[in-house]
C-alpha cells in the first residue's frame, strides 16, 4: 500500500519525503520548481481548497486543529499549508502553527507544512499556489491554507482557495474598522472565534450588519466558536463542508477557477522559456532535473 498520504513505513517515508521535497524545490524556485508545477498541472484539479484567514492570534491554527477530525472523517486525508511571516531584516522566521495542533489527529492522514512568507505580500508565500497544485496532483482531497494575517486580513488566499473563511474575535470591529468593507466582501463564511471573550454579542451584531450591506442575495453565514474547547466546531465544520460541496457543484463559483489554473500554466511556460534563454540554464547544476522532481515523477507513476 502506498497512496502517498500516510507515512507509516519506511517506504511511505520515501514517497512522503518526495512530496515534501517537491514543495521545498518550489520554495527554492528556479527550473526545478517550474518543472514540478508544470507536472502537477497536467493532472486535472480535484482537490477542494479551503482558505482560513484572519488577523494573527485570531485562532486560525487552533481552529484548523479542531476541525481536523471532522475534515478527516469527511475527506479521509487532509493537507495543511500554514504561512507565517519572515523577518524582513534577516529573512529568518519562527513558524509556530504546528504548536497549536493536536497531534492525536496526525495518526491519520495529515500532511502539515509550515511556510515562511519569504518577503511575499498578501498573506501567503510565493510558493503556496504551486504547493496547492502539487498536493492536488498528489491526491490530497482537501488542502487547507492558513494565511499569516499580518496586521490586516490578507486577501491573496482568495485566488487560491475554493472557499474562504475569515476568523475574527470579539472586539474585531475596533481594530478592523478601516478594513471592514474589503474584508466582509472576501469571506464566504465568518468565524467569531474566542466566543469565551467579552464583547461577543456586539461583535456579532456589527459583523452581521456589515454583511447585510453586501450585494449578495444571501449574506455569508457567521459562526461562533471556541476553538480551544471545541465549542461550535461541529456546526462550523458542517457549514464549511456545505460551502465546499457547493463549490464542487458550481465550479464557476470557485475562487480557484479553471481559468486561474490555465493562467498559471501559461505563466509557467513563459517562466520556463525565459529561464532556458538565460545564462544560468547552461550551468552544470541545472543540467538535469533534481532529486525532488524525479522522486515526484516516481510518485505520480505509483499513484496511477
Amino acid at each position: 500500500m502506498s497512496d502517498g498520504t500516510s507515512a507509516s513505513s519506511p517506504d511511505d517515508f520515501t514517497v512522503r519525503r518526495a512530496l515534501a521535497k517537491s514543495i521545498s524545490a518550489i520554495e527554492s524556485g528556479g527550473p526545478e520548481a517550474l518543472t514540478i508545477e508544470q507536472t502537477a498541472l497536467q493532472q486535472p484539479a480535484s482537490a477542494h481548497v479551503l482558505g482560513i484567514t484572519g488577523p494573527p492570534g485570531a485562532g486560525k491554527s487552533s481552529l484548523i486543529s479542531a476541525l481536523l477530525p471532522h475534515a478527516l472523517d469527511h475527506y479521509g486525508a487532509v493537507a495543511v499549508l500554514a504561512v507565517d511571516p519572515s523577518s524582513s531584516v534577516t529573512g529568518g522566521a519562527l513558524l509556530g502553527d504546528r504548536v497549536r495542533m493536536d497531534y492525536r489527529h496526525f495518526e491519520q492522514k495529515v500532511f502539515f507544512r509550515s511556510m515562511a512568507s519569504r518577503g511575499q505580500q498578501g498573506g501567503i508565500a510565493a510558493a503556496t499556489r504551486a504547493s496547492v497544485n502539487v498536493l492536488d496532483a498528489a491526491g490530497w482531497p482537501l488542502v487547507i491554507i492558513e494565511t499569516l494575517g499580518i496586521g490586516q486580513v490578507e486577501l491573496d488566499v482568495m485566488a487560491l482557495a475554493d472557499r474562504v473563511a475569515v476568523v475574527l474575535n470579539p472586539g474585531w470591529g475596533d481594530s478592523f474598522q478601516a478594513n471592514k468593507a474589503g474584508l466582509t466582501e472576501q469571506g464566504d463564511a465568518f468565524v467569531l472565534n474566542k466566543a469565551d471573550r467579552p464583547g461577543l454579542e456586539n461583535a456579532k451584531i456589527l459583523l452581521e450588519q456589515s454583511l447585510q450591506c453586501l450585494p449578495a442575495a444571501t449574506p455569508p453565514r457567521v459562526f461562533t466558536t471556541i476553538a480551544t474547547d471545541g465549542e461550535g466546531i461541529p456546526e462550523l465544520w458542517q457549514g464549511l463542508a456545505e460551502l465546499m460541496q457547493d463549490a464542487a457543484k458550481n465550479p464557476h463559483s470557485r475562487r480557484r477557477s479553471e481559468a486561474a489554473r490555465e493562467a498559471a500554466k501559461t505563466q509557467l511556460i513563459q517562466d520556463f522559456e525565459a529561464f532556458l534563454a538565460s545564462p544560468a540554464a547552461g550551468s552544470p547544476e541545472n543540467a538535469q532535473l533534481g532529486d525532488a522532481a524525479e522522486l515526484l515523477q516516481r510518485f505520480y507513476r505509483q499513484r496511477d
Partner: protein, 128 residues
C-alpha cells in the same frame, strides 16, 4: 534560500527558555525555525519529513534514552538529515549523542557557536 530547522522537545518537560532563546538566535541568523514543542519520536519524524527541514534540533530535557530513540528514528527515516541537540545533557549523555554523529550543546553554550553549527550542518558554511 533560508534553511529550515525543526526545533523539538523530546521530554514531557516544560522548560522553554533554552529552545526559545536558541530558536530566536537561529531566526535572527536567517533560519526558518519550525517549532513543534514537546513531541514524541513519531511526531518528530513526521514533522521532519513533512517540513523537509535541513536540520533537526532536539532540546533534551529528560532521559537521554528518549532522545536517542528520536535520533535513531530520524536517522533511519532520513539518513541525510543532520541533527544537533542541547539542553540538560550530562557529560555521559553528550558522548552517547556524539557517538551518533550529533553536535551537542549543553548548558553554557554560546549562541554564536550554535548558529555556527547550524550554518555548518546545513551547508551554509564549510565544515571545519
Amino acid at each position: 534560500m533560508p534553511k529550515r530547522i525543526l526545533m523539538a522537545k523530546t521530554g514531557l518537560d516544560g522548560h522553554w527558555r533554552g529552545p526559545t532563546i536558541v530558536a530566536r538566535a537561529l531566526r535572527d541568523a536567517g533560519f526558518e525555525v519550525i517549532m513543534i514543542g514537546m513531541a514524541t519520536t513519531a511526531e518528530i519524524v513526521a514533522a521532519a519529513i513533512d517540513e523537509d527541514v535541513d536540520l533537526v534540533g532536539l532540546n533534551v530535557g529528560g532521559h537521554i534514552d528518549v532522545a536517542l530513540r528520536a535520533v535513531d528514528a530520524v536517522q533511519s527515516a532520513a539518513p541525510d538529515m543532520p541533527i544537533f541537540a542541547g539542553g540538560t545533557i550530562p557529560p555521559h549523555a553528550c558522548k552517547q549523542l556524539q557517538a551518533k554523529g550529533l553536535e551537542v550543546f549543553p548548558p553554557g553554550s554560546m549562541l554564536t557557536d550554535i548558529v555556527d553549527s547550524a550554518n555548518r550542518l546545513t551547508g551554509l558554511s564549510a565544515a571545519q
